[in-house]
């Protein structure tokens, strides 16, 4: 829908459209387009993620957002900063939705410095408020990769060993202004088992390639806004835990939400341990009875991780993912060429079928089922029908 108004104003979009014309010119038989390659990798992502791997479900993620001068570039609308912050907002929501027992912190970097926007915390609201505020920041100077990574390490290194420590850098600039040799820092990151991933907004920078390769993260460069979103969402899924990370049983508390009525004699309005809000009800730590208004949280008093059962259930699908659908060429299909999910005609050259119920889907639905639904609609339908 964004495309429509742009297409009408050709004089404005003129520069950006030239490449489209170019691409049509060189559709020689030898050259597979980059889109083809991308499509393959999209598929691969779905198939790859299915294996019996241990996942780092408790994540501590530091998000580093570049706020340097190059964020004012208008190749994302209205500019890179606004577009990125908007996407990051959805990312934050999605992140906490899928990783309820994880934490997130945001760091911004500009003018050769790095600053903490929010501390590591498990509350999406706080981050989103901060992000909304950040839209008005002035972008200036160069970013410093070194400083921001350094700042992130300061908190990450104190996190317990069984959690996955991650940094995700959104880098727009092609240069970084560092006070010291970044190679040393990469070694430190590696030894601390911090996984650094980078999403580049303009082009491939060598130091990021090295950084991500060494620390085991991923490095992607966006093509456009929708690709950007896709890449961000890749990081919603918990990464496989490194085999060397400690594993231990963790004590967790499942506090019940208690709403005390005013008539109750024992009940006193109390200030929540983590915030300044005064309320009657809340969650009480089963160990020390500290009061919290929101979950999940780590108890400030006794250090117990407090979650609610639905939270844990939500991260369940990561552990038992839906099987990958089998890919086959469209010509082989005997039946009607319609996707079982969207009912659209199957036009692409390959189709995807669920191995257990043999229903046929198109690429888009395949991706949707695996990324969002986490269960095959036809299988569920059959199950309910049989009851």
């Amino acid at each position: 829908m964004d495309e429509e108004p742009e297409r009408t104003k050709r004089w404005e979009g003129g520069y950006e459209r030239t490449w489209e014309v170019l691409k049509e010119d060189e559709s020689g038989s030898l050259k597979a387009t980059v889109e083809e390659i991308l499509f393959q990798s999209k598929r691969k992502r779905v198939t790859e993620s299915h294996g019996q791997v241990r996942l780092g479900m408790m994540r501590h993620l530091h998000l580093v957002v570049d706020c340097s001068r190059s964020m004012e570039d208008q190749d994302l609308k209205p500019n890179r900063l606004t577009a990125s912050l908007k996407l990051i907002e959805t990312f934050v929501e999605e992140y906490f939705d899928q990783n309820p027992i994880s934490q997130l912190g945001i760091i911004t970097t500009k003018n050769k410095r790095a600053e903490k926007l929010t501390d590591l915390a498990g509350n999406p609201k706080k981050h989103i408020v901060a992000l909304k505020k950040a839209v008005d920041t002035v972008c200036l100077g160069e970013p410093s990769l070194y400083n921001s990574l350094h700042l992130a390490i300061q908190t990450l290194k104190h996190m317990p060993g069984h959690t996955s420590r991650e940094i995700l850098v959104i880098l727009s600039s092609l240069t970084t202004c560092d006070p010291a040799n970044i190679c040393e820092l990469i070694k430190t990151l590696k030894s601390l088992k911090v996984r650094v991933s980078v999403i580049g907004l303009s082009a491939e920078v060598r130091v990021c390639t090295v950084l991500t390769r060494e620390t085991g993260g991923s490095y992607h460069v966006i093509l456009d806004e929708s690709h950007f979103k896709e890449l961000l969402m890749l990081h919603v899924k918990p990464p496989p835990a490194s085999s060397s990370s400690e594993c231990s049983l963790i004590r967790m508390g499942f506090p019940q939400h208690i709403i005390a009525s005013l008539t109750d004699q024992e009940a006193n309005a109390a200030i929540s341990t983590s915030g300044a809000d005064l309320s009657l009800g809340g969650y009480f730590c089963p160990q020390c009875h500290a009061k919290y208004t929101e979950l999940p949280v780590e108890c400030k008093v006794c250090g117990l991780t407090l979650v609610s059962a639905p939270h844990l259930a939500r991260s369940f699908h990561h552990l038992f993912p839906l099987q990958a659908f089998t890919e086959s060429p469209t010509e082989q299909l005997q039946k009607d060429r319609f996707c079982q999910a969207c009912q659209g005609e199957l036009k692409d050259k390959s189709i995807f079928s669920c191995p257990s119920c043999c229903s046929v889907f198109c690429v888009e639905c395949d991706l949707f089922i695996h990324d969002s639904l986490h269960c095959c609609p036809c299988c569920i339908h059959n199950q309910t029908a049989s009851y």
Binding site: T18, A32, L38, D178, S202, R206
Partner: protein, 759 residues
Amino acid sequence: MLNIEGLLVHFPYDYIYPEQYSYMLELKRTLDAKGHGVLEMPSGTGKTISLLSLIVAYQKVFPLEVSKLIYCSRTVPEIEKVVEELRKLMEYYSKQTGESNNFLALALSSRKNLCIHPEVSSLRVGKEVDGKCHTLTASYIRAQRHSDPDLPVCRFYEDFDAVGRQMPLPAGVYNLDDLKDFGKRNGWCPYYLARYSLMHANIVVYSYHYLLDPKIADLVSKELTKKSVVVFDEAHNIDNVCIDSMSVNISRRTLDRCQTNVETLQNTIQKIKETDATKLKMEYRRLVEGLKEANVARETDVYLSNPVLPDEILQEAVPGTIRTAEHFVGFLKRFLEYLKSRLRVHHVVQESTPQFLKDIFDKVCIDRKPLRFCAERLRSLLRTLEIADIADFSAVTLISNFATLVSTYSQGFTIIIEPFEDRTPTIANPVLHFSCMDPSIAIKPVFQRFQSVIITSGTLSPLDIYPRILDFRPVTMASFTMTLARTCLCPLIVGRGNDQVALSSKFETREDFAVIRNYGSLLQEMSAIVPDGIVAFFTSYMYMENIVAAWYEQGILENIQRNKLIFIETPDAAETSMALEKYQEACENGRGAILLSVARGKVSEGIDFVHHFGRAVIMFGVPYVYTQSRILKARLEYLRDQFQIRENDFLTFDAMRHAAQCVGRVIRGKTDYGLMIFADKRYARADKRGKLPRWIQEHISDGSLNLTVDEAVQLSKHFLRQMAQPFRQEDQLGLSLLTLEQLESEEMLKKISQIAHQT
């Protein structure tokens, strides 16, 4: 194991590029025809391994047809790279066939790189090492040692001389370091061992000069067998190498040093006369006999002929006027005085060799004939006088070579005497340029002697000009394109600034403020969107200085420096290598850098900018050679008269090959990618564009011919994003990377036949 028109070739990799197959096909046809070939294939597509594996296979199957491969490369690192590829191939061979290999392959370089004598090898400069080695190993020095055992000795050479000659080097692949190791283990001199083993080695890898420079070729390569295949790699500049090897420059300093040389000669002769007069008499008798020995050798076709030693003089005796040592020294003195008087001019003189000879006859009565024998006579004298340190006599050797050349060739050379340099007309610095204009003179013996000569490089376009200027007839001329799974190079021709000012480095607009500013904004915009390294080439140092100064004043440099650091190539080699090092560091750690350098400079020729070291190259202007140079003018005139090549054609050819060389620096393989920006509107013209190598040309679409800076920036941004997407080997398979099965499919073979473009 590939089947190339019936020849089974072992190829040491699992996958092969289609163009490699095609290249081998053409190469095989050339060898079959026993002719010469010109082949152009882009760098980074495995030219070296294709060449090696095909020729080795050919040698194995037809040992009588091709008995030796002589691989000439330009620099020591390149030589070493070739040998390492060869080692891989040989290991693969022995693994496949299961039997030990009886192939001997070795690299040869100068004494500087091979010497293991503790004192001699500690010297840094090549000339010093050669000189010092000579004082230890010359035959008469060693003869003297019999009477006087206290003289210093190189035990490595002595051991080699005593034992090494009887024991041939065992089969295997020897790189420079392997030779040194082998030498150390056995106590033999690696340099002489390598030179001696050259004769029976199956594969020799060495520098151009060992074949093309007549002075060195005579020592090293003259006994190589006729049934050899000679390969000149990176041969796009071969004509200049040929010309340089035959040209002589004489300055006043050369003459002064020559003067002292002649005096030393005279004193030595005097001394010898008092002690050992028979020696000189012996020499005299030998000279009367003439150079019969050399003549016989040449007739029986044992030696590679030497262009400095023309055929005719071999049949004659050394003329009487210079036969005795004193007379010859007197002759040299006269010649020297004449040259000195010629250097005392105040205006530029240009004359042909016959004019020069007539003048010298008129002024000091020197005939043409004795002049021709000068080089040979001097060599004989130095031998007789038993002078150890030949390096000291380089000046007089130079003069005598000049004398021989000037009297031998009436065509193809010109003499230019300039009293001062063009840039500094007030400082007197007279130089006599004896300049060769015909590269075919130096390379002629190579083409005549060897059965197949292959000239190959990444940038040889337009192919047809090389046979013309080198004067030979190739049986194959082919240019290969690069098959790509993704378009990893993006040539853009930027012809206009954002304000529509035409961008050009041509002489009239050189000082134009608007052009300089637009060039600046091009670099500035690019510095903001291209990651890591950018290399920018200017047409000359002068032009670069002017532009950079103007940019500084306009504050453009400051803006650029916000995005990337700036490094500049200077004529000083040490400074440049320092700048290069820092440049690479800045690319490595994410700061990003720009290297400003000059076409035809060191950076444009020998340095590769793989991957992040060069994501974009910007060519500011068309790198025409400095056309006001008199030497160039003379050469152009000669080309027009002799080969019917128009001045303009040659100049454009020369400029475009250098431009191609510069921009080709960024693509060093199929996984690499880079922008190539030609910032001059003249590149859009068909006559310029058509002279670029085909593998670049085919990616220039009509849409990228006359871009403004902004358009170029948009295209580049898109290109860089596309290229940053993950790219794995599987994506290449079947398209630009083939397994054996894929290669043998009918369809693929048809495609491959289109890769080679015959001319």
